[in-house]
């Protein structure tokens, strides 16, 4: 089903005309209300009136995640604080988080876009949605929640964690749709199996998964084990949250971007040049309607490509290829964004440890694991086991506290971390090979 026939099936010409009007509007708004953008645009000699056609978007400056951090917490908001009705935030070390604010209209639009996404995934008003995305500052839980209500389906706000209870309620309530990270769905499957519950035998028929990268082989595994259709949803909190793009259940070839609200481009991450349609590169998004924190040309760091060919499902919106990689070294661990630099900051703040560390990411029982190896040095060394173990726990506690992920810390000998050309190899991600 198409939730918003009018906007999801607009002829490309009309859609692009709408995008241009909205782009002109958002550039004018940020120029007027956000000193950061005014300064940037002035430096480039660009006035809002210079945006005459859609391709003029390349005149605009990029926005990086770091820009949000630099203006923590509210520096990039484009409306006064009394017009903000909700805040969300992505994890970060103290003072390093990114904060986004939503106006009443932003929340309404978001609900609409998630409703569109759920409908595209095959969800109808009669469905029960077991929403196992975390509720809270993370956008996943509440994002899906509002969309489900907008669509008119029944939402079960189970949130994350408590896996045995989740399995029990999934069976007892007879949910037909499950929303969570792809890795959690497999974890839940295993936990349910141990309790004698086979999810395949339950009424659940659709899974909508996002917030972490997953492969096609993982999709096949989820579909066969849980006996469901697994749909990929895309979103990021800086842009809105889940619902920026969604796969249509009918075709499952690329994710439809909600183009009346987001202008997507693909660029070369090294040069910043916009690439030709169909080329593979970094996805860049300009929010066209966001009021709370509109962003111009936000660099998602996700690698994808765009396809504007009409889809058999009837939608005319461009489809982005499933995200297969990232242009930076950000890790997504159990749905949480982790930058190596954040770990480094935590280590330095924990007894002044050296920044010689390595992150080993794996997957055990379908849950991501993070091991932080830290080279010991004389300043923190002790002749007593308990002191070193205390140091390990302190690092683990700080990582949990600041980043929200569970990590295991392991002290290692100096110079034992593999280096290439003098630079320590920071990340070993074993999930791809294990998947």
């Amino acid at each position: 089903m198409i939730f918003d026939v009018e906007h999801e099936t607009l002829p490309r010409e009309e859609l692009e005309a709408l995008q241009l009007r909205r782009l002109q509007n958002v550039v004018a708004r940020v120029y007027e209300n956000v000193p950061f953008y005014r300064k940037k645009l002035d430096e480039l000699g660009v006035k809002p009136t210079h945006i005459q056609k859609l391709s003029d978007v390349t005149l605009l400056p990029f926005t990086e995640k770091q820009d949000l951090r630099n203006h923590y917490p509210f520096g990039l908001f484009a409306v006064s604080r009394e017009n903000i009705v909700r805040l969300h935030s992505s994890s970060g070390t103290t003072g390093k988080a990114t904060v986004v604010g939503y106006t009443k209209r932003d929340i309404k639009n978001w609900g609409q876009l998630v409703a569109r996404s759920l409908a595209a995934a095959g969800v109808t008003t009669g469905d029960f949605i077991h929403n196992a995305y975390g509720y809270g500052l993370f956008t996943g839980g509440l994002g899906v929640h509002y969309g489900a209500e907008e669509l008119g389906a029944t939402v079960i706000p189970i949130s994350g964690g408590g896996t045995r209870r989740q399995a029990m309620l999934l069976r007892d309530f007879g949910a037909t749709v499950i929303t969570c990270t792809p890795s959690y769905s497999l974890h839940l499957f295993e936990a349910a199996k141990e309790m004698g519950i086979d999810i395949k035998e339950l009424p659940v028929r659709i899974g909508i998964f996002g917030a972490e990268p997953w492969t096609d082989s993982m999709r096949a595994e989820i579909e066969s084990k849980l006996g469901i259709t697994a749909i990929d949803i895309y979103g990021l909190s800086e842009i809105m949250g889940p619902g920026v793009a969604i796969e249509c259940a009918k075709v499952k070839k690329g994710l439809h971007i909600q183009e009346d609200h987001f202008l997507a481009e693909i660029i070369d991450s090294d040069t910043g040049e916009q690439l030709k349609p169909g080329d593979k590169g970094e996805l860049v998004i300009t929010t066209l309607t966001k009021e709370g924190i509109p962003l111009l040309r936000y660099r998602t760091r996700d690698i994808s490509r765009l396809n504007t060919a009409p889809c058999r499902c009837g939608r005319t919106t461009a489809r982005m290829e499933r995200v297969t990689g990232r242009s930076d070294d950000m890790l997504i661990i159990r749905g949480v964004n982790v930058f190596p630099s954040q770990i480094e900051t935590i280590l330095l703040e924990t007894d002044g440890l050296t920044p010689h560390y390595q992150l080993i990411v794996g997957r055990i029982n379908n849950l991501d694991t993070l091991e932080v190896r830290v080279e010991i040095d004389e300043a923190v060394f002790s002749d007593q086991i308990k002191n070193l173990q205390r140091l390990e726990s302190k690092i683990e506690k700080n990582i949990k506290e600041f980043l929200g992920v569970t990590a295991r810390c392991k002290l290692v000998e100096p110079k034992s971390i593999e280096r290439s050309e003098g630079k320590a190899k920071r990340i070993i991600d074993m999930r791809q090979s294990q998947a």
Binding site: E378, F381, D383, Q384, I385, L388, K410, E413
Partner: protein, 143 residues
């Protein structure tokens, strides 16, 4: 009465302990006493050697993290209750023994035990007051 002990961080990987003994052998340093404490991930090797400075320098050059710890070598009479009376004395004075291990060589009729106290100076004072024999570092290194 203090003795310098080398403390070395070791990962639980095959061959690390042998690497330490190889470096010491190549440096012509003798091991007088040793103890290894470990967890599933790492261990701490504690050594009393014939030449502390030389051992430390060469181990550091070999990439090891090395620390200096002050310990006390105590002579324990070779008869029932010899160790017990010393431990009780320390307990009554509220001095904690972080760890202890036996010295390899015998010093005459008595056993020598290496103690790591939480309060080394107070421990030495207490032992002296009670006429417990201790072996000075200089003697121990040459034993």
């Amino acid at each position: 009465m203090k003795v310098d002990q080398l403390s070395i961080f070791l990962e639980n990987r095959a061959g690390r302990l042998a690497e330490v003994t190889r470096i010491l052998a190549d440096s012509g340093v003798n091991i007088r006493a040793l103890s290894l404490a470990d967890t599933s991930d790492f261990g701490i090797l504690r050594l009393i050697v014939s030449d502390f400075e030389k051992a430390k320098e060469n181990l550091k050059a070999g990439g090891f993290t090395v620390g200096r710890t002050t310990v006390v070598a105590v002579e324990v009479t070779d008869k029932p209750g010899g160790l017990n009376s010393i431990l009780e004395m320390l307990r009554d004075a509220k001095i904690n023994v972080e760890y202890m291990y036996a010295f390899v060589n015998q010093s005459g009729a008595n056993a020598v035990i290496i103690f790591r106290f939480d309060r080394t100076d107070q421990a030495i004072e207490l032992l002296q007051k009670n006429n417990i024999a201790m072996v000075p570092g200089e003697t121990l290194y040459k034993m």
